[in-house]
Subunit: 423 residues, 2 copies
Amino acid sequence: MKSYNELTLAERRELYSELSAVYEEYRAKGLSLDLSRGKPNSSQLDISNGLLKVDLSSDHASEQGIDCRNYGVLDGLPEMKKLFADSMCLDPSDIIIGGNSSLQLMYDALMRAMLFGVYGSKAPWSQEDKLKWICVTPGYDRHFRITETLGFELISVNMLPTGPDMDEVERLVKDPKVKGIWCVPKYSNPTGYTYSDETVRRLASMKCAAPDFRIMWDNAYGIHDFSEDKDELADIFAISKEYGNEDRVFYFSSTSKVTFPGSGIAFMAASENNRKQISKYLGAQTIGYDKLNQLRHVRFFGTAEKMHSHMLNLGAVIKQKFDITISKLKVLSGLEIAEWTEPRGGYFISYNVMPGTAKRVYELCRSAGVTLTEVGATFPYGIDPADSNLRLAPTYPSDEDILLAMDILVLSTKLAALEKLGI
Amino acid sequence: MKSYNELTLAERRELYSELSAVYEEYRAKGLSLDLSRGKPNSSQLDISNGLLKVDLSSDHASEQGIDCRNYGVLDGLPEMKKLFADSMCLDPSDIIIGGNSSLQLMYDALMRAMLFGVYGSKAPWSQEDKLKWICVTPGYDRHFRITETLGFELISVNMLPTGPDMDEVERLVKDPKVKGIWCVPKYSNPTGYTYSDETVRRLASMKCAAPDFRIMWDNAYGIHDFSEDKDELADIFAISKEYGNEDRVFYFSSTSKVTFPGSGIAFMAASENNRKQISKYLGAQTIGYDKLNQLRHVRFFGTAEKMHSHMLNLGAVIKQKFDITISKLKVLSGLEIAEWTEPRGGYFISYNVMPGTAKRVYELCRSAGVTLTEVGATFPYGIDPADSNLRLAPTYPSDEDILLAMDILVLSTKLAALEKLGI
């Protein structure tokens, strides 16, 4: 396939005219398709329907005999901790089980940091001026929104196939105003990249000017492999301990994309120093989280092995949608107008169009009935400086809808590139 | 019965000797009884077991067709709002449904106030110095703990049978540093008193120097009547609107003591101005709460009428325990060494022993195997200045255990009073 850069003006004009005709045909169909929603569709949710059949009415006791219908147990059922620990290679004693949302646990952790500080803080963060936070881009908009809401200056660092650009991260953390970094270390949202062992080691060992620097380690897709051909993530707790930096890590995950979004179980894992400091405030915040839902999850899964099989069943369904999406993108190979990632797990594909054309691609798609995640959503303050990145979320639409939507996306990508090159 | 104040020294000595002998007999039994835990026992929980049988596996759609297994709906299912609104005489549009804990919603509301202010604030509260908070005493320790943790100076105001001493409250709110008040307006913890209509009107209409003063209206026992012979609480939203003060009220409740503590549904109700300000931050905090548990509750109850019947069933069980407790206290009538409340709903009985003897009563009970709520727990900073108040929680123990524990409590009350009077 000939690169668009090698086309003459006449060739570009001819091609643009041809593609426009096809585009108009699609547009005339009055479609309504959506590639923006990072949520499961009902066939994926059905895989967890057994969870809704778990009948706890006659047996609602934990292994230790705790009546899960009643008050008590602030930090979660031991068997729930064990299930998470076994499936994510963590120490159960490091785990605090939360409610239905890991995002809320992250928000809570940073609200506490603002008002009370974290372990190692000299003062509550809200008493320090002009704090900064590292955002790996493209990244997760809801992470950025929390730190933006809390008044941090958001500093972008590029995501590479190995994880954040660590040269840049190591340079930035020499500034004591830089208090932390958002990380989705495995099948990162939206690139699908997994941090390399070297990246994890550099994050765990780097010298931070802020004594209370925190890595917000959102391992949201830690067990979301499409198959046994999967990425491996290094154990940040083990490595950070080698350097005496285990207090640096706030680890989060949940079953939101394992069972049901909004009705799953979230957790936080942290060092003993961190847990002691957190427990003090957690005890003021709540009497406890939903133990019946913990028990429901424990009864449904039984063991980490069964949870693993469940994830492979789910992964097979999602992989098919990713395969369809990527097969459509492949027609762009060699044109030098787009790049994309091909993750082995997670929820998203990162799609980079010719710089300066992402907004135009978004508009063309929208005009033809295809909703994409808004351009800039994957960047701090909603601004993609290169106007290039689009996040593709193929889990929710039907296979047929993905095929149609991708045809329109590919067409729009070509049209926008030709417009940029000149027609 | 002759008042202890009228006894001669000789009479007191003789009585003390007699009672001590009985006390020692109880002590020798090596009992282990607990009147401290404000939680339901399993027979009360069993009344809600139908909730655990609700099978959502084949029908998980809300009335509007929302798949409750998936993301979406930040502020709760409309039918859950309607159920709460119908049962507590609220406007469904004022309601934000939360997670499993109203305490957490209160904590969240005040954390937001500290970092971002509330509607009407000139600045985040954490930027103001030496803020104060009114605590009605005796009251709920976990309320006090939240504002203590946030650094407020806690100011005690006496609880009267009509609610807080409003003369004192109206005097205090002339200080702009006083930012709010904790209220449990119906069957208050621990007195069981319900605020009179006049008290509600004075709270709704009083002139507060702080423009962003907040009433934390924790209507935890709003529907927790023992029978149709019940207390009525005035509608604070309606009354505060008469005075243009509807932004003053943050209203909270939950099903923690309706269905299952820790696995129920909590909500907050507030004015439009407040909801707009809150929603901005709520959207940063979470993608949404557990809609499946909302749906489970809606399916279990169906209507507010059925919820009402459910509460009367529960109330009958609890009333029996209250009746047993109070019948035992009645032997103290006329002795002028103790007073107690006789609530028509809620969860607690407030028990005042002779001033200066509560700690001694607590110790005597503990020594004989009866655990009471710690003296001072119902006061800010855990200090009861009169050393007089004890909170009795009769819901958890069996009827037999209550009878035994109350015998010991009555004995301990008498012994401590005699010691105080001199023996």
